[in-house]
């Protein structure tokens, strides 16, 4: 018999309660808010790359070299990215962190475009 002060719920009950609280928090913030927050984090956080560069990748507009081809590949053909592609942008930018930041911005941007297309179809279907 586990020693537990009277009136205290068993640990498994505490886990259930905590999950309920977490669930409420998750519901309280809409998923649209969460995605807006995700985008804001990618742009507003201090990074190795310029804020404007990350913002451009996130908005899906053309970014300057050495990022042009890489960002396009992340957006449209990520399955084709090779070790050499990564080595090139790391060498050209001089930073793995820069590649990390631009990869995330391009990936979120492409996914957000598709999400928006789906949500628009849902709205237009009435």
């Amino acid at each position: 018999m586990a020693l537990r002060p009277r009136g205290l719920p068993p640990p498994e009950r505490l886990v259930v309660v905590l999950r309920r609280i977490t669930g409420r928090t998750l519901r309280a913030m809409t998923r649209g808010d969460q995605i807006a927050g995700l985008s804001a984090g990618l742009v507003d956080t201090t990074g190795v790359t310029a804020r404007e560069l990350r913002e451009a990748a996130l908005r899906g507009v053309r970014v300057p070299d050495p990022w042009t081809a890489y960002v396009e590949k992340v957006r449209h053909a990520s399955y084709g990215i090779t070790d050499q592609d990564i080595e090139y942008v790391v060498a050209a930018s001089g930073s793995e962190d820069a590649v990390f930041e631009m990869t995330l911005a391009a990936a979120v941007s492409a996914a957000a475009d598709r999400l928006e297309a789906g949500l628009r179809a849902l709205r237009e279907a009435g």
């Binding site: 977490t22 669930g23 998750l26 519901r27 913030m29 998923r31 969460q34 995605i35 927050g37 995700l38 984090g41 990618l42 956080t45 990074g47 590949k73 992340v74 957006r75 990520s78 399955y79 990215i81 070790d83 990564i86 790391v90 793995e96 962190d97 590649v99 990390f100 930041e101 990869t103 995330l104 391009a106 990936a107 979120v108 492409a110 996914a111 957000a112 475009d113 598709r114 999400l115 297309a117 789906g118 949500l119 628009r120 179809a121 849902l122 237009e124 279907a125 009435g126």
Partner: protein, 200 residues
């Protein structure tokens, strides 16, 4: 992993967590965890909140069905890592074989009318033109799907559409088939929940 900073560049708190994961699971930590715990204020903190909400939050879709939706999107995006992990979770939950090849045969209808209609909707969104016709929505509704379920589908799609690209670009993988199963089971066990303490 193609970026070395994601193997050894984490801050002390996150590095300790990854070491503990490695010791407890006796396999290399999930590359998604490595990405999420690296400079978490940039991406991982908000990202994991969204993932947990989409995959384990309230929804008309069961958790196993959401795993199938995620694996399906990953298949469309040709992301072998995510297909392997999420078919692994679906297989474990559904007690039936779930593979990428079986997902490719979705038009046969063996996943049932609701999922078949949803796969068609997702395929239109993921591979179609920037504007999706409302006929795809009408067909899904005719199969009994509510707009809430379709909206939830799109957010699951967003989660995978993002991480598939990151996984492909940065070279996510596992060492052995046993490691794949371990990673899938671990993710399912923690229910996509990472303590907030690790995301600061």
């Amino acid at each position: 992993m193609r970026l070395r900073v994601l193997d050894g560049g984490h801050r002390l708190r996150q590095r300790i967590a990854l070491t503990m994961i490695r010791l407890a699971s006796r396999t290399a930590p999930d590359p998604v965890a490595k990405v999420s715990l690296y400079r978490p204020e940039l991406f991982g903190s908000r990202w994991l909140q969204l993932v947990e909400s989409a995959m384990r939050g309230p929804s008309e879709w069961s958790e196993a069905e959401r795993e199938l939706l995620g694996a399906f999107v990953s298949r469309l995006n040709r992301c072998p890592f995510c297909v392997g992990i999420h078919t692994g979770i679906a297989e474990h939950r559904l007690h039936e074989p779930v593979t990428g090849e079986r997902l490719d045969r979705w038009r046969d209808g063996e996943f049932g009318p609701r999922l078949t209609a949803t796969f068609a909707f997702l395929e239109g969104v993921m591979t179609g033109p920037p504007r999706i016709g409302s006929d795809a929505v009408e067909r899904a509704r005719a199969a009994g799907l509510s707009d809430a379920a379709l909206s939830d589908t799109l957010y699951v799609g967003f989660v995978f559409d993002t991480i598939n690209r990151v996984a492909n670009a940065l070279g996510f993988g596992w060492e052995t088939e046993a490691d794949r199963i371990k990673l899938a089971r671990s993710l399912d066990r923690i229910r996509y929940h990472v303590p907030r303490l690790l995301l600061r």
